[in-house]
Amino acid sequence: MSHLFAFLRALEEGPQINSTQDLIVQASYLIASIFFILGLRSLTRPDSARRGMQQAAGGMLFAVVGTLLNSGILTYQWIILGLILGAIAGYPMAMKVPMTAMPQFIAFSHAFGAIAATLVGIVEYRHAFTPNELTGQTPGLSHGVAAALGFEVLFGALTVTGSFMAFGKLQELITGRPITFRGQNAVNMGLMAVAFGCFAMLIYQPDTAWAFYAMVALSLFLGVSMVLPIGGGDMPVVVSLLNSYAGLAAAATGFAIGNNVLIIAGALEGAGGFILSVMMSKAMNRSFANVIFGAFGSGAPAAAKEKGEAKESKTISAEDAAVQLAYAGSVVIVPGYGMAVAQAQHICRELMELIAKQGGEVKYAIHPVAGRMPGHLNVILSEAGIDYGALLTDVDDANRVLQTADVAVIIGANDIVNPDAEEDKSSPLYGMPIFRPWTAKTVYVIKRGKGTGFSGVENPLFFKDNALMLYGDAKNVIGSLVKEIKALDDSH
């Protein structure tokens, strides 16, 4: 037991050490860590997920209460006021945000967490070089703690501005197109090198305050300049990556103030965000580096223009489409972000119920990168009350179902159903795993108008023999399909 106390004592940097009190604090952190891990594990199953995350929230409460018992905390008025203000700000934000805006909301929330991590880093750094009131001595900083604080502000500050930029792009406050200039990557690399130089200086000589603050400033700037050249379509990868950075910043905070729950939670998030961003890149058929440095989508539209226009795609009227849908045995709906933009998810459910009433079966094929963040459309469809059992989230599974489907309905999706990804080696999409809706008997494409998708690439699917276009706003088009099917039903 004395061993354990010694270990815990070593982790605790408070001025007076009271073993029993520290044991309680550390126990609360341990409980919080366990709840966090169990909470994340519960997310592997949809039916257990909610309760698991509620427990994780309880874990957070444990960690906070545990910290407040910490002997290092001397005044409470600012803490209480801060907690109240945070809760007042956070509650309406969380309850009002529409599900379509989830990606920018998460980016925004990241920025807040990162501001906290960065500020804590600055406070700890200042504290280390402020003379003690009683003894007049400065606590100073070991090389190791200096490194941890450096990491903390480096990742923290980068995440703050990077998240705000991602938020701006997703919210369309800033253009979604990549903003680039000549030698941009070289400038970013140079600045990064300077930041790392400062970092090295800080580790070598922890009392070099200018190096510390220069690093914060450079990092803030890098957050902006690294996200600006990344296209709006690639924001899901950026948001997951910032997720990872926010985690690393939190873990570094844990190293700096000797707190295990911060290290554990930060490591979990760091790993999670990293995996997700790699998975996203893979689903878009791009290397991770290509997303970060590629400025995708800036050159593509010009190249795409040359091919198109020559062929005409066939259209179909809502009445004819409705008849086919009403008698279809199996229908697969392939939604893209266009469906979410048009807010067509509720009317989709109505369509689905009508087809089911006629004896048909409806499934949704959800591509990993459909929407503005990983799994985004699943959330939007679930919000509309569509059972998650009807969602096909695996590309291979969905393609198997599509082969035997009577009708495939594409709603506001483009790149994820582009046959060029399999057929045209010169296409920027080549190699990306896609759905093959053209293997169904008939394909309906609901699309706002002629023209290319988000990536600016022409889609030959629209010219296939079994592809029929329904131009118009997704909500209106599906609305008229629903009306027609209802009319059919009544006439019987």
Binding site: L40, G82, G113, E124
Partner: protein, 103 residues
Amino acid sequence: MTQIFQLYVFILAGFIGFQIIQKVPPLLHTPLMSATNAISGISLVGALVAAGGQYGKVSTILGFIAVVCAATNVVAGFLITDRMLAMFGGPKKKPETAPEAGK
């Protein structure tokens, strides 16, 4: 020595993170991101120490701002995660109320 222990904790927790998160189905990737976002609000713990440690006026103000930001992150993060997961709630059950009216 302390920092070696911390490194152990970090690496092992990272492994757990990798293992668990790889098993999360794409269906729940958005809630997963919002969940990890909420958990990263754990910076709140650091912010509490900074705000309550009586490190001087400037530090207290910075710490206070950190507490507000981190608390916002925690509260908003967990609430929104819960809101999303509620929609994936009961297995294979259709909601009775009109979707537009709810929430």
